[in-house]
């Protein structure tokens, strides 16, 4: 079973886990993903690659508590183990030297655009990073992005750090001001990717988005991760996860992500009521948007 080197809280509901999987790391490239199973009874959950340390054979994933499996992940101790970590899965992000390339990361999407920014940089691009979150305490990786990017823009919805507003606002301003961006990679919540794709279409700048549909096997066998791109059905696990943002049907994606909403909430509620589970206070007080904690 893969060893978890460390599993550190980096935000109120955000954790960073490093897993020792040298064979996987040796093969993995920016833009690919892995599937993790926390324990024997657990689900298989796809996770974006948030960092690769080839020397030590370490894979970094950054995850936010959104339900039972991610809550259970927080309980894995430093030096502990998880049942499985399989990958690298999916296709690597397309990388070439376009001149100037931009990565846009929203919320938890700040993590996977970091290795992509690194890859863009290594290919010789001037890299612009735009990262944003709801507020300052949820932001992370400012330093990492700062080290890679030639220009870094930070924004928060509430103005608690950096630009007051959305990542798309910053991007629009840059494009309006004539920034010579030839390629954009946007990863984040679906509404953010939708808006970014919408605005970049007006400026006719190629824009890739990394899609995160529900999956089971991650190798093309189940078809659960099917997405509609340019009117065609694609499997995110083998055809993606990166797709042309101007062609993605975000409505279908949003709808399919909600397939198990009720079961997920029920499972989380049961976990939160379990006094034996070693959850931090913040996780134990977790509520879904629009839901009041009794």
């Amino acid at each position: 079973m893969p060893r978890v080197v460390d599993n550190i809280q980096i935000g109120p509901l955000t954790w960073k886990m490093r897993v020792e999987v040298p064979r996987l790391v040796a093969k993995a490239k920016a833009g690919q993903f892995v599937i993790i199973r926390v324990n024997e009874q657990g689900e298989r959950v796809p996770m974006s690659i948030a960092g690769l340390d080839g020397e030590q054979g370490l894979l970094t994933v950054i995850y936010q508590v959104v339900g039972k499996t991610s809550a259970l992940m927080t309980t894995v101790e430093n030096g502990g183990e998880i049942s499985d970590c399989v990958g690298p899965l999916g296709l690597a992000s397309h990388v070439e030297n376009w001149g100037t390339a931009c990565v846009v990361g929203g919320g938890i999407g700040i993590a996977p655009v970091y290795p992509i920014a690194q890859a863009y940089k290594e290919a010789g691009n001037k890299v612009i990073s735009i990262i944003g979150a709801r507020s300052k305490d949820i932001l992370f990786y400012q330093k990492e992005h700062g080290e890679v990017a030639d220009e870094l823009y930070v924004c928060t919805d509430d103005g608690s750090e950096g630009h007051h507003g959305f990542v798309s606002d910053v991007l629009v301003k840059l494009l309006k001001d004539g920034a010579p961006i030839k390629m954009i990679m946007a990863i984040g919540p679906v509404p953010m990717m939708r808006v970014v794709a919408k605005v970049t279409k007006e400026f006719e700048v190629p824009t890739w988005v990394s899609l995160n549909p529900l999956m089971v096997d991650g190798t093309g066998m189940c078809g659960g991760c099917r997405v509609t791109v340019g009117g065609e059905t694609k499997f995110a696990c083998v055809d993606g996860p990166d797709f042309d943002g101007h062609l993605v049907d975000f409505d279908v994606l949003t709808s399919r992500l909600n397939a198990y909403k009720d079961q997920e909430r029920k499972a989380m509620k049961k976990l939160l009521e379990d006094p034996n589970c070693r959850l931090t206070k913040a996780v134990r007080e977790f509520t879904y948007p629009g839901e009041n904690k009794a």
Partner: protein, 474 residues
């Protein structure tokens, strides 16, 4: 012990009926449907065998089991010996005794079948394999002296496990790579618990492990290492048994609605991830009240019977041809009918209709009629214009087959495939266009059966052994 009786007398014995859970009970649980023969039943059934010298039944078996040989040992009450006799050529008797279509393989060739019912070879195979396992009489097979040759097997389904079982006994160093977290392939993710209990698959894999086969689960060859890298790692020969691939969908409007699964996904959630056991396992599954399964094969039967057990009020098979053309085993169709599955024959959906949450609620269908035969030799279904009607459904499972998974083919230069993307092989040796690389099972044939995959594995193992014995490049 039953004395050897005259052939005429033997023919008078009625074929054993396998005791099974009653339909009304079994639709509420995931336990195995048939209980298996009793020892007494097995001995009586064994007495029916005419011990034909030419043994046509063996010709019908893709893995050449010595059928009269093992049946004779049952008569002598040496049940474990009978199991071992089977295992000389078939590594997976407990599996094959359950899921092989004996009625079109060994049993159809049985001389008794001409005038009476054939010997229940499948039931007997299952009986002796279960007897051996349940009484802890399973022996680790003898292994030849190490040859120093290393074989990589990609995929741990029936083909891969057969190759592993045969080659380990011949003294080769065998490693099985499996993409999922448990070995067994379709035996674990595809075939439901009520048809093939997972502890049986596990037991078969454990025997291989104890014999020396190494298993590396959660390892996706083509992503982690390529075929060429396996050679670089020191493997002398490679067998590809990666199975069926990407699920086919209907390609009709509304197919992205929530509540429309491929059979692969539906069955994997229930079988591998054990979503049917919602108290102990975390993977969710949609439990429909009105479930339509599209297709007429064994996979469709597995899915529709699963849906009933997951609480459906109505579970339908929706199939575009008639019952006569259904590819599923007669026994599976029979079991499904007993369980109250409703069959809509000569029907095809043309559109799925969703609610405001994006969940499927209805399916628009057309009635079909049979026209002249098509390429497959079956009569082609033709839509009847204006016959449109609506079915209320809250879960649809698409079980219309798979196309090949490209993970290995796309990362292995020089590996030839046919126009469907299946790997092409020499049918006698299962060798691919790449020296030292063999393939078998669904990745070669497209969707077929467990035993055909095992048979392909058997052929490949023989050829790999010859290849390695004749001095494969080290």
């Amino acid at each position: 012990m039953i004395e050897k009786i005259e052939k005429k007398e033997r023919m008078k014995i009625k074929r054993a009926e396998m005791p099974a859970q009653k339909p009304e009970d079994r639709v509420r649980n995931f336990n195995e449907v048939p209980f298996g023969l009793t020892a007494e039943q097995a001995i009586t059934e064994a007495a029916r065998c005419l011990e034909c010298k030419k043994a046509p039944c063996i010709d019908g078996c893709p893995v050449e089991v010595d059928i009269p040989g093992f049946i004779n040992l049952i008569l002598e009450k040496d049940f474990a010996g009978a199991a071992r006799k089977i295992k000389q050529t078939n590594s997976l008797p407990a599996v094959c005794g359950r899921v092989c279509p004996q009625e079109e393989q060994c049993e159809i060739k049985c001389v008794l079948a001409k005038k009476f019912k054939p010997v229940a070879i499948g039931h007997l195979e299952r009986f002796v394999a279960d007897y051996e396992r349940e009484n802890n009489l399973v022996q680790i097979p003898a292994v030849a002296a190490p040859t120093g040759k290393k074989v990589a097997i990609v995929g741990s389904g029936p083909a891969g496990l057969t190759v592993a079982g045969d080659l380990i006994k011949l003294g080769h160093d065998v490693t099985v790579f499996e993409a999922l977290h448990k070995p067994g392939g379709v035996l674990v993710y595809g075939i439901p618990e009520f048809r093939l209990p997972k502890n049986i698959v596990q037991a078969e894999c454990d025997v291989l492990k104890d014999t020396g086969v190494k298993f590396e689960n959660s390892t996706v060859i083509g992503k982690m290492e390529t075929i060429d890298e396996l050679f670089e790692m020191g493997f002398d020969a490679i067998f590809i048994g990666t199975g069926a691939g990407l699920p086919n969908f209907m390609g009709i409007p509304g197919e992205q609605l929530i509540g429309i699964y491929s059979a692969n996904e539906y069955l994997t959630r229930s079988n591998l991830m054990r979503a049917f056991d919602e108290n102990d396992y975390d993977t969710p599954i949609i439990r429909g009240k009105n479930v339509a399964v599209l297709g007429g094969g064994n996979t469709a039967m597995d899915a529709v019977r699963t849906s009933k057990r997951l609480g459906a009020d109505h579970s339908y098979i929706v199939y575009r041809r008639s019952e006569a053309e259904m590819p599923a085993r007669a026994e599976e169709i029979h079991h499904a009918m007993e369980e109250g599955i409703e069959f809509h024959m000569l029907t095809t959906p043309i559109k799925f209709i969703g609610d405001d949450q994006g969940r499927v609620v209805q399916m628009e269908c057309l009635n079909m009629e049979l026209g002249p035969p098509d390429d497959s030799g079956r009569r082609r279904p033709v839509p009847i214009e204006g016959s449109n009607f609506i079915m209320d459904v809250d879960l649809v499972v698409v079980a219309i087959g798979n196309s090949s998974n490209p993970l290995i083919q796309s990362t292995t230069p020089g590996l030839e495939t046919n126009r469907w993307g299946n790997i092409t092989v020499n049918p006698d040796t299962m060798q691919t266009s790449r020296p030292g690389v063999y393939a078998g099972g669904d990745i070669v044939t497209g969707g077929a059966t467990v035993i055909l995959a095992a048979g392909a594995g058997k052929k490949a193992a023989r050829a790999i052994h010859t290849y390695l014995s004749n001095g494969a490049p080290k």
